[in-house]
């Protein structure tokens, strides 16, 4: 299917053919030492970003239990309505913060971003992610309150599953790019959504190509090149506004296998507390709150499938942790000093980013490698193992710990 937006945006690419060197996933196997694309031993990353506003608390716990039972990590978003399961100031929000799983905020109160910041501060919450319910532009002032990653419905993709894909060669990249549709973002008539067309038209022609490549394959990027404070991320919604009913289609085996094969990362947009008829538009889908019986065979098998892969292939984590890793991957700078019997690697990363799971890939015949964080003296206590994702290379890594859903 071709859209007007696709035709318009493609015109902004210019005549220069796309080349694989323009996209730069981490973990370049050609280098002696490089940041590994994902924590060891994983080869892809996935988060489910759930908007739980209006969800029955019992259903909220039941769906979380379905993840937890299978060893799947999932975070939660706080919000401002008192009846929401993770309302700002609620006991559950506090417990999830303590467990490191309160990773997002969704929606804004009547007073907008300023009031949101005040309420979050009063409750002692600094969720790193703004997960929609209002536009990125409306929520942008929350940067001052500590929120680092923003998204809204305008950045929801309907067809392409996963970003930061490791295309093997330019031909594969061009085939995927040819099939990609720039009109896939957002939903018709969505409120509180970034207007990508307006953004595109506001960008200088020389910057349009970078913007378009980010839309194509960057999981997170700076929306306007002139500022570094609008780090936005894309979510995969699927062709319909997401609900628990569409979860099994969002998590298709085929999608997950491709994510593993191409080493991608994906944030899945969800509303686990809703049910809706599949394939129908907003006026016909009969969206309603999910009941306790809503998690049926289709959903259970999808989670089983994901859990099986989550053992050592797809790292499934809370949204903020996935975004934090991708940000670290984007910003880390390695300085390498090679001696015949030992290599020293200094990793410079912004202080705000966690280093949990930090992993480097090195040639298997490299001597011992000391890794330090810039500004510190002591080498990190990294383990070294052959890298199952890259034959002929080893991985130096810190452990990545799974965060379990707390008993409330």
């Amino acid at each position: 299917m071709t859209t007007v937006q696709d035709l318009l945006f493609r015109a902004g690419l210019g005549r220069r053919p796309l080349d694989i060197s323009e996209l730069s996933p981490a973990g370049n196997a050609a280098q002696d030492v490089a940041l590994r694309a994902y924590p060891f031993p994983f080869r892809a990353m996935l988060a489910i970003c759930d908007d739980s506003r209006g969800t029955d608390p019992a259903v909220f716990e039941a769906t979380r239990a379905a993840f937890g039972y299978r060893g799947l990590e999932i975070g939660a978003c706080t919000s401002f309505a008192e009846d929401d399961p993770c309302a700002v100031g609620s006991a559950r929000a506090g417990a999830l913060k303590a467990a490191g799983l309160l990773d997002g905020l969704v929606g804004l109160p009547c007073g907008g971003a300023d009031e949101a910041a005040a309420q979050l501060a009063a409750a002692g919450l600094i969720p790193p992610v703004f997960a929609g319910g209002a536009s990125v532009a409306e929520a942008a002032p929350l940067t001052a309150a500590g929120i680092r990653f923003f998204t809204d419905d305008g950045l929801s993709g309907r067809t392409k599953f996963g970003d930061a894909l490791s295309f093997r060669h330019t031909g594969e990249l061009r085939r995927k790019f040819a099939q990609f549709d720039f009109g896939q973002f957002g939903f018709a008539g969505a409120e509180g959504a970034t207007d990508l067309r307006a953004v595109f038209e506001a960008i200088a022609p020389t910057a349009q190509r970078a913007f378009l490549l980010n839309l194509f394959d960057a999981p997170l990027f700076t929306l306007l090149p002139t500022t570094d404070e609008n780090t936005v991320f894309k979510r995969f919604s699927g062709p319909q506004r997401p609900s628990l009913s569409t979860l099994s289609l969002q998590l298709r085996s085929q999608f997950l296998t491709q994510l593993e094969t191409l080493g991608g990362a994906v944030i899945i947009q969800q509303r686990l507390g809703d049910e809706a008829l599949i394939g129908l538009g907003p006026s016909r889908e009969r969206r309603r709150p999910a009941g306790l019986d809503a998690l049926g065979l289709h959903e259970a098998l999808a989670l089983d499938d994901l859990a099986e892969r989550a053992g050592d292939r797809i790292l499934v984590a809370a949204t903020a942790r996935v975004l934090g890793w991708l940000e670290l991957r984007r910003r880390a700078v390695l300085t390498i000093e090679k001696q015949p019997d030992r290599w020293r690697v200094e990793v410079a990363v912004p202080l705000s980013l966690e280093r949990e799971g930090l992993a480097l890939t090195v040639r298997s015949d490299a001597p011992p490698v000391d890794v330090t964080v810039a500004g510190t003296a002591n080498p990190l206590a990294m383990a070294r193992q052959p890298d199952p994702a890259s034959p002929g290379r080893d991985c130096l890594y810190l452990e990545w710990s799974k965060r379990l859903w707390p008993s409330l």
Binding site: M1, L7, L249, I278, L297, H298, L301, D305
Partner: protein, 485 residues
């Protein structure tokens, strides 16, 4: 034929061959004449048919969902929708599927298939218009003591089946390959298929064609992403993008005798290559050469990215896809197995453990809503819904009918001269061809009458406004469902 290409060489060929494809050759129904057949029976704007493979579908299961979709009475799903939706059957069947005979040809005896009376009645009425090949007649089911027997798959078994169809008064017009069946037709993609391979004892394409099987679905003719064909594109840029986005790979390869994928053979002529790729991209039916070199009509089915079982029907056919199909005036044939339940989105290795045969109820609430959506669009006059044989026949008719117009200031006489096409040759217009006949005429045309060449009398046409034009038409008479069970 041109020199064989490698898979690497052939991959980029369609985009190059179609680089200058004009919109009027891109597959949408088009005529430069001021009097021409309307794309669809009046007042419809697009067409849809269901192509339901009968695998694992018992007659009870068939009845369960067809009573709702086709019937008009109350059912457990709600009031019947009255749609003309067909189904398929087998000649030889070993399981629950509707079949004329119980067992495979190599079994000692073939008793009548169970529920034969209902199958015959539905097939005579036109609802069972599709042979899903001759059956699940595969080597893995052969008796142990006959392994290697070359007579197991023989033309005589097909001829016997055709005689049986004839004796029962059944005239299916559509032939759909069944998973791995030797009685499948391969066309340009042939490998294991034997029915069109003259080197095989099972060769019988000549007999299938002579019997009246007109439309063939070879395995390759499957749309995974593109919903619908005969789509109208508003600009060459839009057409070009659709060609770029099209999943060409399965169309460009076949397997050699060792099972190794190789590029298909291509014609020598560049214009032929362009026409072939253009048809594969956006025609619902198109001529291909069977393995014996004769021309047959192949047709495409839309599968989507999931295995086509009942539980994914609602994601195969969505409101957005139907809206787009109608806006582009296209046709779609939906590939399904309502006789199979499987979990949504799972790989075959996972779903096979959770498959259910002949689920009753066959439709989940999502599928019910999807059928209701289809019925609503049909009743509103937007979406033409017919059995796949009749939908394909309509598309064939509109590109094969030859007509002439005799004009006087007060009256235009349209003479339907007959049909002509490279696959079926020429034949006159018969009564059955008049169902839904609709001709677009200029709004300012005087009285328009329609006659058939060599026949007396004027056809009883109605005239109505149709956008900027007028249409003279006969009403489409759908098949009426009845309870034969």
């Amino acid at each position: 034929m041109a020199q064989p290409l490698t898979l690497g060489e052939i991959g980029g060929l369609p985009a190059r061959a179609l680089a200058n494809l004009a919109l009027d050759r891109a597959g949408a129904w088009h005529s430069d004449a001021d009097v021409h057949l309307r794309a669809w029976p009046w007042p419809y704007r697009a067409g849809l048919a269901l192509s339901n493979d009968c695998d694992s579908q018992s007659v009870d299961c068939l009845r369960n969902w067809h009573s709702f979709v086709n019937g008009k009475g109350a059912t457990t799903y709600g009031d019947g929708l009255g749609l003309e939706v067909g189904d398929s059957f087998w000649v030889y069947g070993n399981g629950v599927e509707p079949a004329l005979w119980k067992g495979n040809p190599f079994d000692a005896a073939n008793a009548d298939g169970y529920a034969l009376g209902a199958i015959v009645a539905l097939a005579q009425a036109g609802f069972l218009d599709t042979l899903h090949s001759f059956g699940n007649w595969t080597a893995r089911l052969m008796p142990a003591d006959r392994v290697g027997d070359p007579t197991l798959f023989a033309r005589e078994s097909i001829l016997r089946g055709l005689d049986r169809l004839d004796a029962l008064g059944l005239k299916p017009s559509v032939y759909v390959n069944h998973s791995g069946s030797p009685s499948n037709v391969g066309g340009p993609w042939g490998s294991y298929q034997r029915a069109d391979n003259p080197a095989e004892r099972l060769y019988a394409l000549d007999a299938l064609r002579a019997f009246g099987l007109r439309f063939y679905w070879p395995d390759a003719c499957t749309d995974i992403e593109k919903f619908g064909n005969e789509l109208r594109f508003d600009s060459t840029a839009e057409l070009k993008r659709s060609i770029e986005q099209f999943a060409w790979e399965p169309w460009l390869r076949r397997k050699d005798t060792d099972g190794i994928p190789i590029a298909i053979d291509l014609p020598d002529d560049q214009a032929e290559i362009e026409a072939m790729f253009a048809a594969w991209h956006n025609r619902a039916i198109f001529p291909v050469r069977g393995g014996d070199g004769t021309l047959i009509h192949a047709f495409k089915r839309y599968r989507g990215i999931d295995q086509p079982v009942g539980s994914i029907f609602s994601s195969q056919v969505t409101e957005a896809k139907l809206a787009r199909l109608e806006a582009q005036g296209g046709a779609v044939v939906i590939y399904q197995h309502f006789g199979v339940f499987g979990p949504r989105g799972r790989a075959p290795t996972i779903s096979r453990h959770h498959r259910a045969r002949s689920p009753i109820p066959a439709l989940d609430r999502n599928s019910v809503a999807t059928w209701q959506l289809i019925a609503e669009r049909h009743q509103s006059g937007a979406l033409f819904v017919a059995t796949q044989g009749r939908l394909l026949d309509w598309i064939w008719r509109r590109s094969s009918l030859r007509l002439s117009v005799e004009r006087t200031p007060t009256r235009w006489v349209v003479t339907l001269a007959g049909f002509a096409c490279p696959v079926e040759g020429e034949r006159p217009v018969e009564d059955r061809d008049l169902n839904g006949l609709a001709l677009v005429i200029p709004a300012d045309a005087p009285e328009v009458v329609v006659v058939r060449l060599g026949r007396t009398g004027v056809l009883p046409m109605h005239r109505a406004a149709d956008g900027a034009n007028h249409v003279v038409h006969m009403p489409w008479q759908p098949l009426e469902w009845f309870d034969v069970f």
